[in-house]
């Protein structure tokens, strides 16, 4: 029996052995092949744990969208500009639909994530914030007091829904997109991994006052990133944006996690 080349072991691991290679597989040492296949599958799992598919696909989709946009721009400049017109019409239609279907879904204050994060749970999207405090990593409860410079890392689980957008709103009314990575990302880029995942980047809080509120918008279908951000930015102008529920189109669900900034009139820094 001869050793199989790497590529053929890969095909065996994927159950995609081509007909022309079946004799080689049949002639291989079954135990050695099983060990090789198991090793590849372990390597697959480790690779996807280190680099989850969700953020990676989001990056890929953003690149594809950017490339498509660049090509479309070239065509537009070369030809008649019809694509821009079609996009505008589509945008008007989406905005109209958004306005017609406004519905308040979940109570945001029920959306705070439980402890024990790390296993797949269907039905309840979860969003967890962690703060690096020296050498320690601290999970942040709702309304924990956080300060400018604190480094926050988010973990999330869409609870069985296939798509999601994560963004935050601060007390200065600034909305920041965390997932997908680009505000230009197409709806397909909102695909989320089936299990709990960590955002690829932690970030430091700025000195915005009062609060930092994270929203995890989930859906069974791809989410329109631009429309979601537009809804959040409109929401940010409301006086009650720290506590109210975000109004979303039917089919979108929300979870939110609010962290508080210290009261500038207070002399101590305890959590409320």
């Amino acid at each position: 029996m001869t050793a199989l080349p790497d590529w053929l072991v890969e095909r065996a691991a994927l159950d995609e052995v081509p007909p022309a290679s079946r004799d080689r597989i049949a002639g291989a040492d079954p135990r050695a092949l099983a060990d090789q296949v198991a090793a590849l599958r372990d390597d697959n799992a480790a690779e996807l744990a280190r680099h989850p598919a969700g953020p990676a696909v989001a990056q890929l989709e953003a690149r594809i969208a950017a490339e498509a946009q660049r090509r479309a721009g070239q065509r537009r400049r070369r030809h008649l500009g019809w694509l821009g017109l079609a996009t505008s019409v589509a945008a008007v239609l989406v905005v109209t639909r958004l306005g017609a279907e406004r519905t308040v879904i979940d109570d945001p204050e029920r959306g705070v994530v439980a402890r024990g994060d790390g296993t797949r749970v269907k039905g309840a999207p979860r969003l967890v914030a962690f703060r690096q405090a020296g050498e320690q990593i601290e999970q942040l409860e709702p309304d924990t007091v956080v300060r400018a410079g604190d480094v926050i890392q988010l973990r999330y689980n869409a609870g069985g829904r296939g798509y999601g957008v994560i963004a935050s709103l601060d007390g200065a009314g600034v909305v920041t997109l965390h997932f997908p990575l680009s505000e230009d990302a197409p709806p397909q880029a909102t695909a989320v991994p089936p299990d709990t995942a960590t955002l690829p980047h932690a970030y430091a809080l700025d000195d915005a006052p009062r609060f930092e509120r994270f929203f995890f918008i989930t859906a069974n279908d791809p989410v329109d990133v631009q429309q979601t951000l537009a809804a959040l930015r409109a929401f940010a102008r409301r006086e009650d944006s720290a506590t109210a529920a975000l109004e979303l189109p039917t089919g979108l669900h929300q979870r939110s996690l609010r962290l508080r900034k210290p009261d500038p009139t207070s002399t101590h820094h305890e959590s409320p």
């Binding site: 590529w7 890969e10 994927l14 022309a20 290679s21 697959n44 490339e67």
Partner: protein
């Protein structure tokens, strides 16, 4: 039915990464190449439903890596480095990248790339029959391509 990007990536990305790592050596370069592969493939996701994923991705990954070797003169980690570099540097000097050419071939029914055939047979130790199945050619067609390449390589080796 169009492929699901997430499932497609989760299923095949590790395999593609290992392929790129084997040809390019450096992990970060391999990771970049792997992303290039998926950008190219997923750009045509609506056309991929009937394609054999691992075979297609393996071939496109080979093309992307060959293109990077041509561009950066990187040396592969193992296999037959001299052969790889020779193939990469002396085949397909067309203006368009080899990777894009591979997709063009795939989707526009253009002829297969001799460099990929050479890598599959000489580096990956595929039989002529396996190469033929991989690239969708006849065994005799593959044999002719390899004979032509061997002649060309031999001529290059004997040049002063």
């Amino acid at each position: 039915v169009p492929v699901d990007s997430h499932t497609y990536y989760a299923t095949y990305a590790p395999m593609v990464l290992r392929r790129c790592r084997k040809l390019l050596g450096d992990d970060q370069t391999a990771r970049d190449a792997m992303h290039d592969v998926f950008v190219q493939v997923l750009s045509h996701a609506h056309e991929l439903a009937d394609q054999a994923p691992s075979s297609l991705l393996f071939r496109i990954a080979t093309n992307v890596c060959l293109n990077r070797i041509r561009t950066r003169r990187r040396r592969p980690e193992d296999g037959d480095p001299e052969l790889l570099v020779a193939i990469a540097e002396h085949t397909d000097p067309a203006a368009r990248s080899a990777a894009r050419a591979a997709l063009d071939r795939l989707f526009r029914h253009e002829p297969d790339d001799t460099a990929v055939i050479a890598i599959l047979h000489l580096h990956d130790k595929m039989t002529l029959e396996e190469v033929a199945a991989e690239v969708g050619m006849s065994v005799s067609g593959v044999r002719k391509r390899l004979q032509k390449l061997r002649t060309k390589l031999h001529a290059l080796e004997t040049q002063p």
